[in-house]
């Protein structure tokens, strides 16, 4: 890693207000007020660099990738594959050009795992271990396999602080074939000890699948250090476009996996009596891939790298800490913030209950103040049940948010409280 001047998080501090100027959407108004965008956990905004690069590619270089002989087809292929390698390097992939599979989103990446690896390795009675804080994207594909194959799902519980309870970990992992775990909860912000979990799961003989949707955009992420086997994330949460996601997998593991979808690109040969699948990673990329989006994702990665993921993390810790203090100071017992209570133990995601005002109503009033927060179950219904709520309101940060955004949130929440008296 590059030499860094030392600040709280080990990286150079970032200036969120300056960075925010790179994001055209953040200059718009909502209901006559400057937008306060606090929903980056659902989808982040994109800097001009990403938007411009996609447009420039479309205007100058676009052609279908692979097998094109003419110049721009070759150029398009080169840019598509360069984006792949760039993304691979960003997450510390040992073989970046072969281990990064482009999918539609993280959801498709996780479905790919359950479908391809799951169907060729899991049989009736086999155990898949999940956690109570998983997103539906890391639950439902396993449920579908359970319905089809009769596999058993086991759940690692959480405690009242939103941390995984690991006391019985070895018992839960005993005989398990898969551990599928999120690196960071999209509701609680909890940062799971993935490296430790992976080591214990491997000792028990289980494959480790990580959902890194909330980690890659906000924390330095190194697949080798994490020690996981497969890892999924989406471009649209990391300053990139929608329509493209990533499955990273260890090279030998991907080699052993059968194709997911069938069609063009994913074959070496097709005969009347069958087909020969392509090499990795193309084996898992049936049909024309999201080429413009890959170019955009590559530039999003460049942007994050230039800011520095250590700086991003340090900034989000300090902003989260500021927000926790501001909300508690102003609202005291009227606000219940879910998840770990110390900023260092969590990402920049704050789910809360405010008095007995329903999250929908909170979000509606906040919108009046230009404040965008999400209200709902956040695709984590088992977690909602564990928390004993139907829904929460959730404010989430990215590198372009600063303390003024938090102040606006606090003022708007105060107004919501007064409105519902």
């Amino acid at each position: 890693m590059a030499e860094l001047t030392t600040h709280t998080g080990g990286g150079p501090a970032l200036d969120a207000a300056t960075l925010a100027k790179d994001f055209p959407l953040l200059s718009r108004k909502v209901n006559g007020r400057p937008i306060t965008y606090l929903d980056s956990a659902a989808s982040s905004q994109r800097p001009s660099a990403v938007l411009d690069a996609m447009r420039e590619y479309d205007e100058t270089t676009h052609a279908n990738v692979h097998r094109g002989v003419y110049g721009i087809a070759e150029e398009a292929t080169r840019r598509f594959e360069a984006a792949r390698t760039n993304v691979g390097r960003f997450i510390g992939a040992p073989a970046p050009s072969r281990e990064v599979v482009f999918t539609k989103n993280a959801t498709e990446a996780l479905n790919l795992v359950a479908h391809s690896w799951g169907r060729s390795n899991l049989e009736r009675g086999d155990v898949v271990v999940l956690t109570e804080m998983e997103h539906h994207a890391n639950i439902v594909p396993w449920h579908m396999l359970a319905a089809e194959r009769g596999i058993e799902l086991r759940w690692l519980p959480i405690d009242d602080d939103g941390q995984l309870v690991l006391d019985d970990l070895d018992a839960v992992l005993d005989g398990a074939k898969v551990l599928a775990v999120t690196c960071m909860s999209n509701v609680l912000g909890t940062l799971n000890p993935v490296a430790e979990l992976a080591a214990r799961a491997h000792a028990a003989g289980a494959l480790v699948v990580a959902d890194a949707c909330q980690a890659v955009p906000h924390l330095p992420t190194d697949v080798s250090a994490l020690g996981v086997d497969l890892l999924a994330f989406s471009a649209h949460k990391m300053l990139g476009p929608t329509g493209i996601g990533v499955l990273w997998g260890r090279e030998e593991l991907l080699q052993s996996m059968p194709p997911f979808l069938g069609g063009g690109e994913m074959i070496l040969d097709v005969r009347k009596d069958g087909f020969t699948p392509n090499d990795i990673p193309w084996r898992f990329e049936a049909g024309t891939p999201p080429i413009t989006e890959a170019v955009g994702l590559g530039v999003a990665v460049d942007y994050l790298r230039a800011v520095g993921m250590d700086a991003v993390r340090a900034h989000e810790i300090s902003l989260t800490s500021y927000a926790l203090d501001a909300l508690r100071d102003r609202f005291g017992a009227d606000i219940r913030i879910f998840g770990p209570q110390a900023a260092e133990d969590r990402g920049g995601v704050l789910s809360f209950a405010f008095r007995d005002v329903h999250p929908h109503d909170i979000s509606q009033i906040l919108d009046e103040y230009g404040v965008c927060v999400r209200a709902g179950h956040h695709c984590a219904k088992p977690l909602m049940r564990r928390l004993g709520v139907n829904a929460t309101a959730r404010a989430s940060f990215a590198l372009y948010n600063d303390e003024r955004d938090v102040d606006t949130l606090v003022e708007a929440l105060d107004a919501a409280g007064k409105f519902f008296g």
């Binding site: 329903h358 999250p359 929908h360 109503d361 209200a375 219904k381 139907n390 829904a391 519902f420 008296g421």
Partner: protein
């Protein structure tokens, strides 16, 4: 941009703060139906007593936002003691008030809330009484599902009770 006062009328806030007909009737004999709003996880339980051709009693349980809770409360007050034919008609009128925008929303398949994309007919707002306060909800399309949840659940209850549509 419509203002918040279009959405949160005084009557709505009143029914939200002091909901009418809260609770559950003993079932059986009451018919009990649960409704879900998959968008937000809100749940509602409607129990009804049908006697001869009258909706003799109704109770509402569950949790939800101010719009879904007040809509349910307003509905319970409006339909209690009415003839079944009147109840069906009121549901129709209410749906019409909401459906102008609902028909443009993707159906989530919950509780048969989709509406035939017919030309919006003139609605007899007077017939809706206090319910007309919910009119402003159509200006906030994402909240329409909140307002219609209890009505769709009641419809399901009437169907289960064998009340002709």
């Amino acid at each position: 941009m419509p203002g918040l006062e279009d959405l949160y009328r005084e009557i709505i806030l009143d029914h939200y703060r002091s909901p009418r007909n809260r609770g559950e009737l003993e079932s059986p004999p009451a018919v009990r139906v649960e409704g879900f709003n998959p968008l937000c996880g809100d749940e509602i339980v409607v129990t009804i007593d049908v006697e001869d051709d009258v909706l003799a009693d109704i109770k509402i349980a569950g949790t939800g936002c101010s719009i879904s809770q007040s809509s349910a409360s307003l509905m319970s007050a409006a339909v209690k003691g009415k003839s079944l034919a009147e109840v069906r008609e009121l549901i129709g009128t209410f749906r019409q008030m909401m459906s102008i925008h609902e028909s443009t929303l993707p159906s989530d398949g919950a509780g048969g809330g989709s509406s035939e994309a017919a030309e919006p007919q003139a609605i007899d707002i007077d017939a809706l009484g206090e319910l007309a306060a919910l009119q402003g909800v159509v200006k906030f399309p994402v909240r329409i599902k909140c307002a219609t949840l209890s009505w769709n659940t009641l419809t399901q209850g009437l169907d289960e009770a064998g009340v002709p549509a």
